[in-house]
Amino acid sequence: MQIIGTTVMEDCLKGTLTLLYQFDTPWTKTDILKLASLGQLDYFVDFPRPFFRFKSSEDVQMKGVEGDFTCRIIYPAGERDRIHAEFEGKLQKLLNPISH
């Protein structure tokens, strides 16, 4: 599962950066559950397609729905660029370990 593009989303509040990430394959339960190794994961299975919410120790948030090719990632205001670069690297490695 690889990141193939990002788009800045409109509702960015008080210095945070919200990006919509596009992936080459849809989010599966396996991919979602991997996120737990990077921080706190909430996985809601009662919806027609499960919703997930993730938060890292540096306050990076991810939100998405199983089966989607996209997810939202919200980077916090302080040290945004550094956190953005580091987290994106970790995510790529987690979701696509072979290419790393």
Binding site: L13, F44, F47, P48, F51, K63, G64, G67, R72
Partner: protein, 381 residues
């Protein structure tokens, strides 16, 4: 994995489905050379001229050249506000319900002209503070520019009462009818409106990229754009004649072919679908009100409004509710500020609201599904 049927509740942004006949009309237009290509006498029966005539009919005006064809209501408002004489921007009255399509162009002009913007808030009943508004009009107002109905709450402003007073005080009036054309009567004479901005892709259920601007013949708008008009080509500057004074370049002939079909459909079927939307909305809102973790914004049961509701759910971020409804349930809705920042600031909700907006094309089963989805979200927190 379940694949839910689409439930479309985003009418306040863009109507869906399009009015029956729109797609065929557009396909037909796309299949033939457009009649405006050569301009001149061919233009009498082209889609743009036919549409202009039909729009004039819906507004109950005799002179179709008071109608400028545009891309949408935002485009219309920009043409009007940018082209009005600077004297109108000394003291401008507007309301807390306004959309950025009106607020932003107004602010540019007012700042450039050194004028003043007065934003009228709400009274104790959550309605526009009509007494403050009346006082502001009487106190040397130069322009009153307001929406016909809120795109966030569906609240319908008492436009006729406000604009009548404005006209009695020789104040020019601009009506943003983006939410109401095709839904409520939009009649310049009854609304006391000098300028009205319309869009084709909401209540009229036409294609995006179609809109119109009504300008009373007692108001002069200077052209913001200049260029080819197809006629009076020997003139070095933009012709004075309406509507070419404010219309430049090759128009959206295919889109206006679709809008003709939408207006014709609305004239025959609009009432039936509006009544159905009202019934469904009443049913929906009566169920939504019973859910204790749902907080409604700007809704008053006793007041008639457009079928739009904004809400939050306790302990659920607005954007997550939107993501779950849109992506998990396939219930199309909108979250955020809905391009109307002032009313959200008044409510103190910087993250905005979830907005559901219905049409007569929705069904009882869909309403039940949405209520069920909201209950499940609450249960899952």
């Amino acid at each position: 994995m379940k694949s839910n049927k689409l439930i479309y509740l985003n009418e306040a942004a863009t109507a869906w489905p399009l009015a029956p006949g729109v797609i065929d009309a557009m396909l037909s237009a796309l299949s033939h050379p457009i009649s405006t290509a050569g301009r001149g006498e061919e233009s009498i029966n082209n889609n743009c001229e036919l549409c202009r005539k039909l729009i004039a009919q819906t507004l109950n005006i005799q002179n179709k050249n008071e109608i400028i064809l545009t891309q949408n209501a935002t485009h219309s408002l920009n043409i009007a506000i940018s082209g009005l004489d600077s004297k109108y921007f000394k003291k401008v009255i507007t309301t807390i319900f306004e959309h950025n399509s009106l607020l932003r162009p107004l602010r540019y002009r007012i700042e450039n002209e050194g004028g003043e913007l007065i934003v009228i808030g709400l009274n104790e009943y959550g309605e526009i503070d009509i007494e403050s508004l009346k006082n502001a009009i009487k106190n040397d107002a130069t322009l009153v520019a307001i929406t016909h109905a809120s795109n966030v709450t569906g609240y319908i402003l008492p436009v006729n009462e406000i604009f009548k007073l404005a006209k009695e005080n020789n104040v020019i009036t601009i009506l943003d009818a983006a939410q109401t054309w095709g839904v409520l009567p939009v009649i310049p004479d009854e609304n006391y409106a000098d300028i009205i901005a319309l869009t084709g892709h909401k209540g009229m259920r036409g294609p995006t990229g179609t809109g119109a601007l009504y300008i009373s013949d007692n108001v002069v708008i200077q052209p913001v754009f200049s260029g080819g008009t197809g006629i009076w080509s020997e003139e070095e500057y933009q012709p004075d004649e309406m509507p070419v004074r404010l219309e430049i370049g090759t128009p959206n002939e295919h889109g206006f072919a679709g809008l003709i079909a939408a207006i014709n459909w609305n004239i025959i079927n609009g009432n039936e679908y509006r009544n159905n939307a009202e019934l469904l909305f009443n049913k929906f809102i009566s169920k939504l009100q019973l859910i204790k973790d749902v907080k409604l914004f700007g809704f008053t049961p006793q007041r008639y409004s457009l079928p739009i509701v904004s809400f939050q759910i306790n302990n659920w971020p607005v954007e997550e509710i939107g993501l779950i409804l849109n992506n998990s349930y396939n219930i199309k809705c909108r979250t955020g500020l809905h391009c109307a920042p002032l009313i959200h600031k008044y409510w103190g909700v910087s993250e905005g609201t979830v907005r559901l907006s219905l049409s007569g094309f929705n069904t009882d089963d869909e309403i039940d599904s949405v209520i069920s989805a909201i209950r499940t979200i609450i249960k899952c927190r």
